[in-house]
Amino acid sequence: MLGELIVEALRNLLRHKLRSLLTALGIVFGIASVVAMVSAGEGARREILDQIRELGTHNVIVNAQKPPAEQKPDKEEGDYVLEYGLTFHDLRQIRATLPAVTDALPVRDVKDWLWFQSRRVEARIRGVTPRYFERLNLTPALGRRLDDDDGRERRRVCVVRARVLQEARYVGDPLRLDLKIGAEYYRVVGVLPDFASKNPDRAILGLDDRALEVYVPFETVVDRRGLTQSTFESGTWEVSRVELHQIVCTVADEADVASAARGIQAILGRLHARRDYQVTVPIELLQSRAQTQRTFDIVLPVIAGIALLVGGIGILNIMLASVTERTREIGIRRAIGASHRDVTLQFLVETVTLALIGGVLGVLLGIGGSMLLERFTDWKPVITFGAVAVAMGISCLTGIVFGIYPARRAAAMDPVRALRHE
């Protein structure tokens, strides 16, 4: 019965193809904007999630920070050593006093040159422990992570970002490459994929989007490079001594992350005379970014609502005209035995069908629009089944809301007068 009403509605709509299309246009654009906006919003949401996941939602990250007010006493004293940052003692204290922190991992960074024949590229050499890979969800695309034996035996092995190989213009088997870091060769045992997208929060890990990173065993770095490092900064050589550049603390329960971060702050506050460290909680970043996202979530339905209101009024207008135009048909159907309900249903089905056709076209247009967004902007829209379902639901609802009045008007006609209408 309903199926036949839909077929009948389609036939009626097809009798006036252009008019139906123009009528549905409002819905088409309304739904297209809904789909495009929901997809863009979903894309942004996932991007934020991915970005935060890169830092680990269970992590508290402590970074060494060069104290801002540090003044070199005298340039003549060439052997001055700048000493700051996190220490092995900090690490031990965090591990010993905070039960909520299940894991605390040391990181040491060395800036050095990678040599590829005559070319050289400056890279960040990270000394890390094996669990660091787990905590930060680093999965090699090729080869393996660093393991405990690498550290214990102080092996000269490394895991590199794919970008490093690209810079090296190395086309052979990556796992056969001996990478020259400074004056020493390290065997590549694993390759990490490059970053999928930009992430402003990556700086919290001490990283940037260039992805020129080389991971080596923590013990190897300490052993071979010592704890002092000379760098050439703004025209002068600077000698600094930093024991640990980063400590990655992991909390078992996401709910305890904030309090664990306060505990870490308290410990470091006691142990450090200066602010030469910074504590960052990735999950708090997520929350503040999600807040920004929420603004978008409010604007979206408002815009979509206006678009659909306009589309719905267009449908209402045409359906009212159609009802008047078909007065005699309505009279005939009533004389033959159609009840109020039959007539209401017929016109309602016709309006909803029209709205759903508009919805389908709108979804297609929205998907197309999202693809264009993806191509020409750095947005990454994600079209979900949910978004399409919601869009179709909204168009159906628009059809019902704006179809009910014309349908009732059709049904309320006096059959005798409708039959006489010409």
Partner: protein, 244 residues
Amino acid sequence: MTAPASAVVELRAVDKTYGTPQNPLPVLRALDLRVATGEFVAVVGASGSGKSTLLNIVGCLDRPTAGHYLLVGEDVSRLDDVRLSHVRRTRIGFVFQSFHLVPHLTVEENVELPLFYNRIGRRERRARSAQILDRVGLGHRRTHMPNQLSGGECQRTAVARALVNRPSLLLADEPTGNLDSVTTREIMRLFTELHGAGCTIVMITHDLGVADVAGRRIRMRDGRIEHDDGSAAPAAAEGSCSAN
């Protein structure tokens, strides 16, 4: 005794008033009418005398302002829309002067409409419309559109549509008013055959020749029955207008 109860139509003191309460416009006044099963009644009278209004009430398209209407023994004068629609599609078949076919539906789809509203499935609808279209001689026009038909064919389609539900009562409002004399005779032959098969018919006409075909003539004037031949003996005791 079933004889008195076998009246298909029984109107008792029916009034129909249009206009406003301040300015009432009476169209039917205290009208009594009884049509027995199997009768063929022709209603004649001047234009504006209330014939169509009477027929619309008899056809349950309209309700009397006052009085009672019993259709096959059931009082339908105060039924709500859903019930009245149900009565229309099970008991009544309508034929109009200007055919009133739905222009964008084919002949058979027009004929099937009353069956559709009776929630009868597609296949049975198709079978019954085919049968009845054969009966009125339009078997070869099933998939034509109304605008491809002659006036006579249109009216035969309308008759087929009126009969497809096997109604108790066939109502026709000037069915030959738009037809030439040849097709008028065709349609009247069809009506006569239906009457012969036991169908109860009430027909409005201006054409006295047409009215002569009916067994009983009623003349209306100013909303009243001015003259009534009186009930002739019913042709048969058949209860409905079947297609055979």
